[in-house]
Amino acid sequence: MSVLKVNDKEIQVTDEGYLENFADWDKDVANVLAKEEEIEELTQGHWHIIETLQKIYQEKGALPALRRLAKESGVKTKELYDLFPKKPLKKVAKIAGLPKPTGCG
């Protein structure tokens, strides 16, 4: 377990940087997590994906495959890789304050 400092708050995260409690998440936290993932600024495009993933997680209680995220958000897989380079699903999940994806797709 590690600690992430956002403003004056100390937030519990896993050793890989995923939030321990979603209740700690807010937009400032997301911005700090995004910088850790080398995304300098979260644009509207990023927020749409982050919010879509949170919504799916809330409804299903589990993270979807990348394919489902593309479908539900209406954003092409290629654009997901452009927005969240290299590891799209892991990066969105982390920035969205959700657990590390453990699926195969």
């Binding site: 290629k78 997901l80 892991k90």
Partner: protein, 158 residues
Amino acid sequence: MDNKEEVKKIAIIVSKNSLEDVYAGLVMANGAVMEGIETIMFFTFFGLDAITKKSMNNLKVGNPEAFIAKMPPMDGPMPENLGDFVTEQIKNQFEEMDFAPVDEFLEMINAGGGKIYACRLAADMFRLTEEDFCDELDGIISVGEMYEMAGRAQMVFI
């Protein structure tokens, strides 16, 4: 995971055309792409069916009996064409699990920067040219070129 020995590059060679073998290759390749690992797929011999427009979405399960053995027992007589029956079941199951059909799977691998190649020898043997292959094809290449491109990649042969 703090693992200094992490895989940086992988080359997955698919030489078979059964649904289960092709999916093994596609799932591993897409999984690698999603981890930011540089990924090359090289399709050879019957594996070419998986990237040939005419056949890519009509692949059949190679070992239906093995699938039947793992499924819940069925009521009534065995279907006449076990291969087709099991293929249909497996495809539906993949869809439920959000695994894409073959053409869309290749699109996803391509979208993430994965490379898709056909084997020159096998393509010549089966008289296939670039027009026969999916749009995501990055080229028809020799074994030598594949090794050049793979460099120090980890290799997987299916």
